[in-house]
Symmetry: C2
Subunit: 335 residues, 2 copies
DNA sequence: CTGAAAGCGCTTACAG
DNA sequence: CTGAAAGCGCTTACAG
């Protein structure tokens, strides 16, 4: 591999000039620039990024860590981040944490080791290795949460209004005459699961005849299947089930089939997220759309402002959600 | 951020010793080592990877580029690669090419610019910027294909036996009495689509009463839906449809619903890949399982051998597939 | 518009 | 077991 020195020698200029041709071409005389460009092409020169990074302390990379790349919901978010990032000349390093704190830390370490300029984390957590840095300096970090507000108010975050979104689903079900509603949540610890459950109960305050039974899932198809079976086998089973992810709703559909139940005739079902598959399920799934691509754009924009030193006081951004009523919800069966 | 020099000064040793504590601890006297370790911890020292990479010309990273991270099929593959990679001390950089050659090139450039040691490409293509290097030196590159054999025999690749896998599906359908079978392929240009279609026709040679009509899709749910509708609306519609991806099969199921057809009573359906959703579709989907995680393991192993200079003549590896007969295929309806 | 020179933070033969 | 020193390939004030 040829270096900037080789190019300089061949083109009869200094390495500084070659460097300028790449980073500030207008500072170089046109003839010189053309000669250098031709030489670079002839030698097949490719800059060594490690050297550049060492010198500038900038990588033009961000890492985005998601809990489960297998989930199209995460993938859509990544797409959004990547779109905004590549438009700004940044590359995206993708991390799959599998809901594992250790793996999250590993990706966060990439920014400490200067392998990336910043970290975008889909979720509400703050990796330890970044938290320490935060405490030391007291100033914000190149770090942002999506789909979950951090408990630390200094850390910027973007999400939807989970509380009201969940409330809307319950209202939708209640309007259809459902009285007994089963909720399958994600892990309770997650603030957005808590927010959604709070939303559910906020409706119950105004409609005291609602009976809500909440069980805890883990967002996976299989947990949706298992928990639904439990709800169906309880003494007084719900007439509608609200899963806090579309994947769990997919499991619920499988459970209905296993019990010979027809949706929505015998039981209604709502999901959350509006992944690409939701509209193709049988029946098409009623769910809440989270604007994941926009969330990706927004999150990158905020991180980028920070990285470029653009002053900004933005800390919390809430994006619009949308209840999408499809065929999986219908009138409650007559008792 | 403290550097190796700071640690050396504080610990009263040279930077060479600090370096050895990290990379070859057994070469350092125990007392010295302990002192250095304590100092590193006290200063919160984190090595600067850019400097290390510049010096060693190794990144301990591989980039894996997939056509569509949104597809769980790709995600499973990534999981496999990542498992093998992290066991070997490598990090994975993930690239989503969206079936776009330009984006593929961009990720391939990362290895030319020394941002990664090698490239794993899910698909059969060879990025131009790597092809040139190959031509120059004549020796193999840190590059490997998965799910598609490269036309260039020097480039290693791992896949399943697409030809026989597709043949097995057709035989399964023919055994169920189906005579008119519709095929929805991926883009025809892809070698693995061609291989599968060849497999389909190989069965036809032995069973001349089979009528095969093949149309071209793009692996997306929506193309599965559209193409299925076309097949259903043709003068003499097939009694079974074989989609060359499970996502397209999902679209086919939506098309059946749109036309009021019950699967498998009125029409049978088979997919390809066995993504996680396949078993939860309604009805559960008959499909061909590709062992994507194992493929990821295998691919990384081969690349790693190359990277570490381990001599190996492995060029083509074929992994076992499996026909998974579920409920979406049944006897052909009586004419 | 261009060049000489310092320096980013590591690693690694080499010598002792 | 340890250190002095060179060097990986860039960029950037500084000077002209």
């Amino acid at each position: 591999m040829s270096t900037i020195i080789d190019v300089a020698r061949e083109a009869g200029v200094s390495s500084a000039t070659v460097s300028r041709v790449m980073s500030a071409p207008h500072q170089v005389a046109e003839g010189t620039r053309a000669r250098v460009l031709a030489t670079m092409a002839r030698l097949g020169y490719t800059p060594n990024i490690a050297a550049k990074t060492l010198r500038t302390l900038r990588t033009d990379k961000v890492v985005v860590a998601v809990p489960d790349i297998t989930n199209p919901f995460c993938a859509q978010f990544i797409r959004g981040v990547e779109e905004a990032a590549s438009a700004a000349g940044y590359a995206v390093l993708l991390g799959d944490t599998r809901y594992d704190k250790n793996r999250e830390e590993q990706y966060a370490m990439m920014v400490r080791r200067r392998e990336a300029d910043g970290l975008i984390l889909l979720g509400h957590g703050t990796p330890t290795c970044l938290r320490e840095v935060l405490d030391d300096s007291g100033r914000p970090l190149p770090f942002i949460n999506a789909c979950g507000f951090s408990p630390d108010p200094r850390i910027p975050a973007v999400q939807i209004d989970n509380l009201h979104a969940a409330a809307e689903v319950i209202e939708h079900l209640a309007d259809l005459g459902h009285k007994r509603i089963g909720i399958i949540s994600g892990p309770r610890a997650a603030p957005n699961s808590k927010d959604r459950i709070t939303g559910v109960h906020s409706v119950q305050l105004e409609r005291p005849d609602l009976e809500i039974s909440a069980v805890e899932g883990d967002f996976s198809i299989n947990s949706g299947l298992r928990r639904t079976l439990e709800l169906l086998d309880s003494p007084n089973p719900p007439t509608a089930i609200f899963c806090l992810s579309d994947e769990m709703a997919m499991g619920a559909l499988a459970a209905f089939r296993e019990r010979g139940l027809t949706c929505p005739r015998d039981i209604s079902l709502a999901g959350f997220d509006d992944i690409a598959y939701a509209q193709y399920m049988n029946p098409p799934l009623t769910t809440v759309r989270q604007p994941m691509e926009s969330m990706g754009h927004e999150v990158f924009r905020i991180l980028h402002d920070f990285l470029t030193g653009t002053p900004s006081l933005v800390r919390r951004v809430t994006l619009a959600h949308q209840l999408i009523a499809r065929e999986s919800t219908g009138p409650a069966p007559k008792a």
